[in-house]
Protein backbone atom coordinates (compact mmCIF):
# COMPACT_ATOMS: atom_id res chain seq x y z
CA UNK A 1 0.00 0.00 0.00
CA UNK A 2 1.04 3.54 -0.62
CA UNK A 3 1.39 5.77 2.44
CA UNK A 4 0.76 9.50 2.21
CA UNK A 5 1.15 12.00 5.01
CA UNK A 6 -2.04 14.06 5.42
CA UNK A 7 -0.96 16.02 8.52
CA UNK A 8 2.46 15.76 10.19
CA UNK A 9 2.43 15.37 13.96
CA UNK A 10 3.71 18.40 15.86
CA UNK A 11 5.99 17.93 18.91
CA UNK A 12 4.60 20.96 20.71
CA UNK A 13 3.28 21.68 24.16
CA UNK A 14 1.77 24.84 25.57
CA UNK A 15 1.12 26.07 29.09
CA UNK A 16 -2.62 26.62 28.66
CA UNK A 17 -3.67 23.74 26.43
CA UNK A 18 -2.55 20.50 24.82
CA UNK A 19 -1.82 20.68 21.13
CA UNK A 20 -2.61 17.05 20.37
CA UNK A 21 -1.70 17.43 16.69
CA UNK A 22 -0.90 13.83 15.74
CA UNK A 23 0.21 12.33 12.44
CA UNK A 24 -2.68 11.55 10.12
CA UNK A 25 -1.89 9.17 7.28
CA UNK A 26 -3.59 7.85 4.21
CA UNK A 27 -3.01 4.26 3.03
CA UNK A 28 -4.19 3.29 -0.40
CA UNK A 29 -4.07 0.44 -2.87
CA UNK A 30 -6.34 -0.52 -5.78
CA UNK A 31 -9.11 -1.68 -3.48
CA UNK A 32 -8.87 0.28 -0.26
CA UNK A 33 -8.61 3.79 1.09
CA UNK A 34 -7.60 3.72 4.73
CA UNK A 35 -7.24 6.65 7.12
CA UNK A 36 -4.73 6.14 9.95
CA UNK A 37 -6.03 8.07 13.01
CA UNK A 38 -8.37 11.06 12.83
CA UNK A 39 -6.70 13.73 14.98
CA UNK A 40 -7.97 16.29 17.47
CA UNK A 41 -10.89 18.56 16.64
CA UNK A 42 -8.53 21.50 16.08
CA UNK A 43 -7.29 19.96 12.80
CA UNK A 44 -10.73 19.04 11.45
CA UNK A 45 -10.71 21.62 8.65
CA UNK A 46 -7.08 20.81 7.80
CA UNK A 47 -7.94 17.12 7.56
CA UNK A 48 -10.85 17.84 5.23
CA UNK A 49 -8.57 20.05 3.13
CA UNK A 50 -5.84 17.40 3.01
CA UNK A 51 -8.32 14.76 1.87
CA UNK A 52 -9.59 17.13 -0.79
CA UNK A 53 -6.02 17.73 -1.98
CA UNK A 54 -5.84 13.98 -2.59
CA UNK A 55 -9.11 14.05 -4.51
CA UNK A 56 -11.03 12.54 -1.59
CA UNK A 57 -14.00 13.33 0.59
CA UNK A 58 -14.72 11.72 3.97
CA UNK A 59 -17.08 9.34 2.16
CA UNK A 60 -14.18 8.03 0.05
CA UNK A 61 -12.56 6.61 3.20
CA UNK A 62 -13.67 2.97 3.48
CA UNK A 63 -11.62 2.11 6.57
CA UNK A 64 -10.38 4.10 9.55
CA UNK A 65 -7.61 2.53 11.61
CA UNK A 66 -7.72 3.98 15.13
CA UNK A 67 -4.44 3.31 16.96
CA UNK A 68 -5.87 4.03 20.40
CA UNK A 69 -8.78 5.91 21.91
CA UNK A 70 -7.07 9.03 23.26
CA UNK A 71 -8.93 12.29 22.60
CA UNK A 72 -6.42 13.60 20.08
CA UNK A 73 -6.82 10.56 17.82
CA UNK A 74 -10.62 10.21 17.86
CA UNK A 75 -12.24 13.65 17.85
CA UNK A 76 -12.87 13.56 14.09
CA UNK A 77 -14.16 9.99 13.85
CA UNK A 78 -17.68 11.29 13.34
CA UNK A 79 -16.67 12.57 9.89
CA UNK A 80 -16.58 8.94 8.70
CA UNK A 81 -20.00 7.41 9.43
CA UNK A 82 -19.82 5.09 6.40
CA UNK A 83 -16.37 3.67 7.07
CA UNK A 84 -15.43 0.49 8.87
CA UNK A 85 -13.70 1.63 12.06
CA UNK A 86 -10.89 -0.66 13.24
CA UNK A 87 -10.25 -0.31 16.98
CA UNK A 88 -8.09 -2.43 19.30
CA UNK A 89 -10.47 -4.48 21.44
CA UNK A 90 -8.61 -3.73 24.68
CA UNK A 91 -8.92 0.02 23.97
CA UNK A 92 -12.63 -0.33 23.30
CA UNK A 93 -13.24 -2.36 26.45
CA UNK A 94 -11.11 -0.01 28.56
CA UNK A 95 -13.13 3.01 27.40
CA UNK A 96 -16.13 1.61 29.28
CA UNK A 97 -14.17 1.50 32.56
CA UNK A 98 -11.42 4.13 32.50
CA UNK A 99 -8.81 4.05 35.26
CA UNK A 100 -9.27 6.98 37.70
CA UNK A 101 -6.97 9.87 36.85
CA UNK A 102 -6.56 8.81 33.18
CA UNK A 103 -7.81 11.86 31.32
CA UNK A 104 -6.41 10.74 27.94
CA UNK A 105 -9.40 8.67 26.93
CA UNK A 106 -12.61 10.73 26.74
CA UNK A 107 -15.34 9.15 28.89
CA UNK A 108 -17.65 9.84 25.97
CA UNK A 109 -15.55 8.03 23.38
CA UNK A 110 -18.01 5.13 23.30
CA UNK A 111 -20.64 7.78 22.48
CA UNK A 112 -18.48 8.86 19.53
CA UNK A 113 -18.34 5.24 18.35
CA UNK A 114 -22.06 4.60 18.94
CA UNK A 115 -23.82 3.66 15.71
CA UNK A 116 -20.51 3.41 13.83
CA UNK A 117 -19.39 0.29 12.00
CA UNK A 118 -16.78 -0.81 14.55
CA UNK A 119 -14.59 -3.89 14.05
CA UNK A 120 -12.50 -4.82 17.07
CA UNK A 121 -8.90 -5.95 16.61
CA UNK A 122 -7.63 -8.66 18.91
CA UNK A 123 -4.51 -7.99 20.94
CA UNK A 124 -2.15 -9.77 18.54
CA UNK A 125 -0.14 -9.05 15.43
CA UNK A 126 -1.88 -9.98 12.21
CA UNK A 127 -1.92 -9.21 8.50
CA UNK A 128 -4.62 -6.63 7.97
CA UNK A 129 -4.25 -5.94 4.26
CA UNK A 130 -1.67 -7.14 1.72
CA UNK A 131 1.70 -5.83 2.94
CA UNK A 132 0.20 -4.31 6.08
CA UNK A 133 0.61 -5.91 9.48
CA UNK A 134 -0.50 -4.73 12.90
CA UNK A 135 2.10 -3.99 15.57
CA UNK A 136 1.02 -4.16 19.21
CA UNK A 137 2.55 -1.24 21.12
CA UNK A 138 0.97 -1.00 24.58
CA UNK A 139 2.29 1.31 27.29
CA UNK A 140 1.31 4.76 26.10
CA UNK A 141 -2.23 3.48 26.43
CA UNK A 142 -3.63 0.08 27.35
CA UNK A 143 -3.71 -1.48 23.90
CA UNK A 144 -2.25 0.83 21.28
CA UNK A 145 -1.65 -0.75 17.88
CA UNK A 146 0.44 0.58 15.02
CA UNK A 147 1.07 -0.78 11.54
CA UNK A 148 4.07 -1.97 9.61
CA UNK A 149 3.69 -1.32 5.89
CA UNK A 150 5.94 -2.85 3.24
CA UNK A 151 6.25 -0.34 0.44
CA UNK A 152 8.91 0.19 -2.23
CA UNK A 153 11.35 -2.21 -0.61
CA UNK A 154 11.18 -0.49 2.77
CA UNK A 155 9.42 -1.15 6.01
CA UNK A 156 7.43 1.81 7.21
CA UNK A 157 6.60 1.79 10.90
CA UNK A 158 3.40 3.69 11.58
CA UNK A 159 3.90 3.79 15.33
CA UNK A 160 1.45 6.44 16.53
CA UNK A 161 2.20 7.28 20.17
CA UNK A 162 4.22 4.09 20.70
CA UNK A 163 6.91 6.42 19.32
CA UNK A 164 5.79 9.89 20.36
CA UNK A 165 8.52 11.83 18.54
CA UNK A 166 11.92 11.41 16.92
CA UNK A 167 13.40 12.38 20.28
CA UNK A 168 12.18 9.04 21.67
CA UNK A 169 14.27 7.33 18.98
CA UNK A 170 17.35 9.44 19.75
CA UNK A 171 17.09 8.91 23.51
CA UNK A 172 15.85 5.35 23.29
CA UNK A 173 13.36 6.15 26.06
CA UNK A 174 9.65 6.87 25.66
CA UNK A 175 8.70 10.39 26.80
CA UNK A 176 4.97 9.82 27.09
CA UNK A 177 4.35 6.28 28.36
CA UNK A 178 1.27 7.22 30.35
CA UNK A 179 -0.25 3.86 31.01
CA UNK A 180 2.66 1.54 31.77
CA UNK A 181 6.24 2.72 31.54
CA UNK A 182 7.82 -0.73 31.29
CA UNK A 183 5.47 -1.77 28.48
CA UNK A 184 6.07 1.59 26.84
CA UNK A 185 9.82 0.94 26.81
CA UNK A 186 9.35 -2.52 25.32
CA UNK A 187 7.02 -1.11 22.68
CA UNK A 188 9.44 1.66 21.74
CA UNK A 189 12.25 -0.90 21.35
CA UNK A 190 9.97 -3.08 19.27
CA UNK A 191 8.83 -0.21 17.05
CA UNK A 192 12.40 0.94 16.39
CA UNK A 193 13.42 -2.60 15.40
CA UNK A 194 10.46 -3.04 13.05
CA UNK A 195 11.60 -0.97 10.05
CA UNK A 196 13.65 1.82 8.57
CA UNK A 197 11.20 4.70 8.13
CA UNK A 198 9.16 5.90 11.08
CA UNK A 199 5.92 7.82 11.37
CA UNK A 200 5.76 8.97 15.02
CA UNK A 201 2.57 10.02 16.78
CA UNK A 202 3.51 13.66 17.25
CA UNK A 203 6.41 14.42 14.96
CA UNK A 204 7.36 14.35 11.28
CA UNK A 205 8.22 11.06 9.56
CA UNK A 206 11.92 10.29 9.66
CA UNK A 207 14.55 7.81 8.61
CA UNK A 208 16.58 6.47 11.53
CA UNK A 209 20.00 5.21 10.70
CA UNK A 210 22.97 4.71 13.03
CA UNK A 211 21.29 6.73 15.76
CA UNK A 212 20.70 9.71 13.43
CA UNK A 213 17.33 11.15 12.55
CA UNK A 214 16.73 12.46 9.04
CA UNK A 215 13.34 14.06 8.75
CA UNK A 216 11.48 13.39 5.52
CA UNK A 217 9.25 16.44 5.44
CA UNK A 218 8.92 20.03 6.60
CA UNK A 219 6.07 21.98 8.08
CA UNK A 220 5.00 25.59 8.49
CA UNK A 221 2.28 27.08 10.61
CA UNK A 222 1.23 30.71 10.33
CA UNK A 223 -0.11 32.13 13.56
CA UNK A 224 -2.10 35.31 14.16
CA UNK A 225 -2.85 37.00 17.48
CA UNK A 226 -5.33 39.86 17.89
CA UNK A 227 -3.76 41.22 21.06
CA UNK A 228 -4.45 44.87 20.35
CA UNK A 229 -8.08 45.88 20.04
CA UNK A 230 -7.08 49.19 18.39
CA UNK A 231 -3.89 48.03 16.67
CA UNK A 232 -2.45 45.57 14.24
CA UNK A 233 -2.59 41.83 14.67
CA UNK A 234 0.67 40.09 15.51
CA UNK A 235 1.61 37.45 12.97
CA UNK A 236 4.35 34.90 13.27
CA UNK A 237 5.14 31.43 12.06
CA UNK A 238 6.41 28.11 13.32
CA UNK A 239 8.51 26.60 10.57
CA UNK A 240 11.03 23.79 10.32
CA UNK A 241 12.66 25.30 7.24
CA UNK A 242 14.88 27.78 9.06
CA UNK A 243 16.01 25.03 11.44
CA UNK A 244 16.84 22.76 8.51
CA UNK A 245 18.85 25.52 6.84
CA UNK A 246 20.93 26.07 9.97
CA UNK A 247 21.71 22.37 10.31
Amino acid sequence: MRVDLLIPGLPAKADHFLFGICSLLLLRDETRTVLFDTGPFRVRQTLLGALKAHGLTPDSIDTVFVTHLHWDHVENLDLFPKAEILVPRSEFDYAAAIRPGDWGTPPFVREILADMRVTLLEDKEQDLFPGVRTLTLPGHSIGLQGLVVEAEGERLVLASDGLWSARDAVRGVPDVAFFDRLQGQQSLDKALAAGTIFYPGHDRPFRFDGGRVTYLTQYDFDLRFSFQPYGQDLTTSISTRGAAAEA
Partner: protein, 247 residues
Protein backbone atom coordinates in the same frame (compact mmCIF):
# COMPACT_ATOMS: atom_id res chain seq x y z
CA UNK B 1 -23.83 39.93 46.97
CA UNK B 2 -21.53 40.12 43.96
CA UNK B 3 -20.11 36.87 42.67
CA UNK B 4 -16.36 36.40 43.05
CA UNK B 5 -15.01 35.55 39.60
CA UNK B 6 -11.80 33.55 39.05
CA UNK B 7 -10.44 32.98 35.56
CA UNK B 8 -9.55 29.32 35.08
CA UNK B 9 -8.56 29.95 31.47
CA UNK B 10 -8.20 33.27 29.77
CA UNK B 11 -9.41 33.15 26.21
CA UNK B 12 -6.95 34.09 23.50
CA UNK B 13 -7.75 35.74 20.15
CA UNK B 14 -5.41 33.50 18.18
CA UNK B 15 -5.75 31.72 14.89
CA UNK B 16 -3.52 29.62 12.65
CA UNK B 17 -3.62 28.43 9.09
CA UNK B 18 -3.52 24.70 9.82
CA UNK B 19 -5.21 24.30 13.16
CA UNK B 20 -7.77 25.97 15.38
CA UNK B 21 -6.54 27.23 18.75
CA UNK B 22 -9.97 27.06 20.39
CA UNK B 23 -8.66 28.88 23.46
CA UNK B 24 -11.87 29.63 25.25
CA UNK B 25 -12.44 31.59 28.45
CA UNK B 26 -13.41 29.39 31.40
CA UNK B 27 -14.41 31.06 34.67
CA UNK B 28 -15.29 29.93 38.17
CA UNK B 29 -17.76 31.96 40.22
CA UNK B 30 -18.48 31.73 43.91
CA UNK B 31 -21.76 33.19 45.00
CA UNK B 32 -23.54 32.63 48.31
CA UNK B 33 -21.63 29.42 48.99
CA UNK B 34 -22.35 28.01 45.55
CA UNK B 35 -19.73 27.24 42.93
CA UNK B 36 -20.60 27.96 39.32
CA UNK B 37 -18.39 27.21 36.29
CA UNK B 38 -18.98 29.15 33.10
CA UNK B 39 -17.95 27.16 30.01
CA UNK B 40 -15.57 24.21 30.09
CA UNK B 41 -13.30 24.68 27.07
CA UNK B 42 -12.01 22.15 24.54
CA UNK B 43 -10.91 18.64 25.55
CA UNK B 44 -7.34 19.95 25.15
CA UNK B 45 -7.86 21.82 28.47
CA UNK B 46 -8.80 18.77 30.49
CA UNK B 47 -5.69 17.89 32.55
CA UNK B 48 -4.83 21.57 32.97
CA UNK B 49 -8.40 22.37 34.02
CA UNK B 50 -8.30 19.57 36.60
CA UNK B 51 -4.98 20.89 37.94
CA UNK B 52 -6.19 24.47 38.16
CA UNK B 53 -9.32 23.41 40.04
CA UNK B 54 -7.18 21.38 42.45
CA UNK B 55 -4.92 24.36 43.02
CA UNK B 56 -7.98 26.45 43.92
CA UNK B 57 -9.05 23.74 46.34
CA UNK B 58 -12.14 22.90 44.31
CA UNK B 59 -13.15 19.29 43.70
CA UNK B 60 -15.02 18.92 40.39
CA UNK B 61 -17.82 17.19 42.31
CA UNK B 62 -18.24 20.31 44.50
CA UNK B 63 -19.30 22.42 41.54
CA UNK B 64 -23.03 23.08 41.78
CA UNK B 65 -23.73 24.53 38.37
CA UNK B 66 -22.03 24.51 34.97
CA UNK B 67 -23.26 26.98 32.39
CA UNK B 68 -22.48 26.21 28.76
CA UNK B 69 -22.62 29.38 26.70
CA UNK B 70 -23.15 27.19 23.64
CA UNK B 71 -22.30 23.68 22.44
CA UNK B 72 -19.26 24.25 20.23
CA UNK B 73 -16.31 21.84 20.66
CA UNK B 74 -14.16 24.49 22.32
CA UNK B 75 -16.76 25.41 24.96
CA UNK B 76 -18.55 22.25 25.96
CA UNK B 77 -16.05 19.37 25.87
CA UNK B 78 -15.36 19.01 29.61
CA UNK B 79 -18.82 19.30 31.18
CA UNK B 80 -18.70 15.62 32.19
CA UNK B 81 -15.95 16.14 34.80
CA UNK B 82 -18.47 18.01 36.98
CA UNK B 83 -20.30 14.88 38.03
CA UNK B 84 -22.72 16.44 40.52
CA UNK B 85 -23.44 19.72 38.76
CA UNK B 86 -26.56 20.90 37.00
CA UNK B 87 -25.47 21.49 33.40
CA UNK B 88 -27.29 24.59 32.16
CA UNK B 89 -27.90 24.81 28.41
CA UNK B 90 -30.46 26.80 26.46
CA UNK B 91 -33.11 24.48 25.04
CA UNK B 92 -32.65 26.03 21.59
CA UNK B 93 -28.93 25.17 21.76
CA UNK B 94 -29.60 21.58 22.72
CA UNK B 95 -31.97 21.19 19.78
CA UNK B 96 -29.45 22.93 17.51
CA UNK B 97 -26.63 20.55 18.52
CA UNK B 98 -28.67 17.69 17.09
CA UNK B 99 -29.08 19.42 13.73
CA UNK B 100 -26.52 22.20 13.33
CA UNK B 101 -26.33 24.61 10.42
CA UNK B 102 -24.33 22.92 7.66
CA UNK B 103 -21.92 25.92 7.57
CA UNK B 104 -21.21 25.56 11.28
CA UNK B 105 -18.31 23.07 11.49
CA UNK B 106 -17.84 23.38 15.25
CA UNK B 107 -20.55 21.05 16.58
CA UNK B 108 -19.66 17.37 16.27
CA UNK B 109 -22.77 15.21 16.65
CA UNK B 110 -21.39 13.40 19.68
CA UNK B 111 -21.24 16.58 21.80
CA UNK B 112 -25.02 16.88 22.01
CA UNK B 113 -25.41 13.15 22.67
CA UNK B 114 -22.77 13.23 25.43
CA UNK B 115 -24.31 16.34 27.02
CA UNK B 116 -27.75 14.73 27.10
CA UNK B 117 -26.37 11.99 29.34
CA UNK B 118 -25.40 14.54 32.01
CA UNK B 119 -27.60 16.19 34.63
CA UNK B 120 -29.06 18.69 32.23
CA UNK B 121 -31.03 21.73 33.24
CA UNK B 122 -32.33 23.45 30.14
CA UNK B 123 -33.42 27.06 30.22
CA UNK B 124 -35.84 28.63 27.77
CA UNK B 125 -35.49 32.29 28.68
CA UNK B 126 -33.62 34.69 30.92
CA UNK B 127 -33.51 33.50 34.50
CA UNK B 128 -31.99 34.54 37.80
CA UNK B 129 -29.53 31.87 38.91
CA UNK B 130 -28.86 33.57 42.24
CA UNK B 131 -29.46 37.12 43.47
CA UNK B 132 -27.51 39.40 41.11
CA UNK B 133 -26.57 36.52 38.79
CA UNK B 134 -28.61 36.34 35.62
CA UNK B 135 -28.56 34.25 32.45
CA UNK B 136 -28.89 36.41 29.34
CA UNK B 137 -29.98 35.17 25.93
CA UNK B 138 -27.35 36.29 23.40
CA UNK B 139 -28.24 34.38 20.22
CA UNK B 140 -26.67 34.78 16.80
CA UNK B 141 -23.30 33.02 17.01
CA UNK B 142 -25.48 29.97 17.62
CA UNK B 143 -29.27 29.93 18.16
CA UNK B 144 -29.04 29.20 21.88
CA UNK B 145 -25.97 31.19 22.93
CA UNK B 146 -26.22 32.50 26.48
CA UNK B 147 -24.16 34.71 28.76
CA UNK B 148 -24.00 35.19 32.52
CA UNK B 149 -24.38 38.67 34.00
CA UNK B 150 -23.05 39.25 37.52
CA UNK B 151 -24.18 42.78 38.32
CA UNK B 152 -22.28 44.79 35.66
CA UNK B 153 -19.80 42.08 34.67
CA UNK B 154 -20.75 39.86 31.74
CA UNK B 155 -19.38 36.44 30.88
CA UNK B 156 -20.30 36.67 27.22
CA UNK B 157 -19.31 33.39 25.60
CA UNK B 158 -18.88 33.88 21.87
CA UNK B 159 -21.51 36.63 21.72
CA UNK B 160 -18.33 38.72 22.21
CA UNK B 161 -15.35 36.74 20.97
CA UNK B 162 -12.67 39.40 21.55
CA UNK B 163 -11.98 43.00 22.50
CA UNK B 164 -11.36 43.84 18.85
CA UNK B 165 -14.98 43.01 18.09
CA UNK B 166 -16.03 45.43 20.82
CA UNK B 167 -14.07 48.20 19.11
CA UNK B 168 -15.37 47.28 15.64
CA UNK B 169 -18.88 46.73 17.07
CA UNK B 170 -19.16 43.82 14.63
CA UNK B 171 -18.82 40.10 15.31
CA UNK B 172 -15.82 38.64 13.48
CA UNK B 173 -16.45 34.93 14.08
CA UNK B 174 -18.82 32.79 12.06
CA UNK B 175 -22.42 33.49 13.12
CA UNK B 176 -25.42 31.38 12.25
CA UNK B 177 -27.50 34.58 12.24
CA UNK B 178 -25.28 37.65 11.73
CA UNK B 179 -28.04 40.25 12.30
CA UNK B 180 -29.06 38.62 15.55
CA UNK B 181 -25.38 38.29 16.55
CA UNK B 182 -24.87 42.03 15.96
CA UNK B 183 -27.82 42.83 18.25
CA UNK B 184 -26.48 40.46 20.91
CA UNK B 185 -23.04 42.09 20.69
CA UNK B 186 -24.61 45.53 21.21
CA UNK B 187 -26.53 44.27 24.19
CA UNK B 188 -23.48 42.54 25.66
CA UNK B 189 -21.49 45.78 25.49
CA UNK B 190 -23.93 47.45 27.90
CA UNK B 191 -21.95 45.72 30.67
CA UNK B 192 -19.02 47.51 32.35
CA UNK B 193 -16.61 44.58 32.13
CA UNK B 194 -16.87 41.80 29.54
CA UNK B 195 -15.23 38.38 29.69
CA UNK B 196 -15.19 37.52 25.98
CA UNK B 197 -15.20 33.96 24.65
CA UNK B 198 -11.70 34.17 23.16
CA UNK B 199 -9.87 37.07 24.77
CA UNK B 200 -8.92 38.57 28.11
CA UNK B 201 -11.57 40.40 30.14
CA UNK B 202 -11.84 44.08 29.25
CA UNK B 203 -13.48 47.31 30.36
CA UNK B 204 -16.02 48.23 27.70
CA UNK B 205 -15.09 51.91 28.08
CA UNK B 206 -14.70 53.74 25.79
CA UNK B 207 -11.87 53.17 25.40
CA UNK B 208 -11.86 49.38 25.42
CA UNK B 209 -9.10 48.41 27.88
CA UNK B 210 -7.90 45.02 29.06
CA UNK B 211 -8.20 44.24 32.75
CA UNK B 212 -5.12 42.02 32.92
CA UNK B 213 -1.98 40.79 31.18
CA UNK B 214 -1.52 37.56 29.35
CA UNK B 215 1.22 35.26 28.17
CA UNK B 216 1.14 32.06 26.21
CA UNK B 217 4.19 29.83 26.09
CA UNK B 218 4.66 27.16 23.44
CA UNK B 219 7.48 24.67 23.57
CA UNK B 220 8.48 22.56 20.62
CA UNK B 221 11.56 21.15 19.00
CA UNK B 222 12.82 20.94 15.46
CA UNK B 223 15.97 19.00 16.30
CA UNK B 224 15.24 15.82 18.26
CA UNK B 225 18.84 15.74 19.59
CA UNK B 226 18.76 19.44 20.52
CA UNK B 227 17.07 21.80 22.95
CA UNK B 228 13.41 22.72 23.12
CA UNK B 229 12.50 26.02 21.52
CA UNK B 230 10.31 28.21 23.65
CA UNK B 231 8.03 30.77 22.07
CA UNK B 232 6.38 33.35 24.26
CA UNK B 233 3.41 35.36 23.14
CA UNK B 234 2.32 38.20 25.33
CA UNK B 235 -0.60 40.57 25.35
CA UNK B 236 0.47 43.03 28.00
CA UNK B 237 -2.11 45.52 29.19
CA UNK B 238 -1.51 49.17 28.40
CA UNK B 239 1.04 50.53 30.87
CA UNK B 240 0.93 53.92 32.50
CA UNK B 241 3.76 56.42 31.85
CA UNK B 242 3.49 57.44 35.50
CA UNK B 243 4.84 54.12 36.70
CA UNK B 244 7.24 53.25 33.86
CA UNK B 245 9.94 51.91 33.97
CA UNK B 246 9.61 50.50 37.50
CA UNK B 247 6.85 48.01 36.60
Amino acid sequence: MAAEITLLFSGLPASADKFAFGMTTVALLRVEGRIVVFDTGPYAYRPILLNRLRRLGVEPAEVDTVILSHLHWDSASNADIFSKADIVVHERELAYAGAPDSRDRSVPGYIGRAIRKLRLKTVSGETELAPGLRILELPGHTPGSIGLLSEDVLLAGDAVTCAKDAVAKTPSAFCVDPAQAARSLTRALEARIVYPGHDRPFFVGPPVAYVSDYTLRIRLFFDPAGQDEELRFGGAAAKSFATWPDD
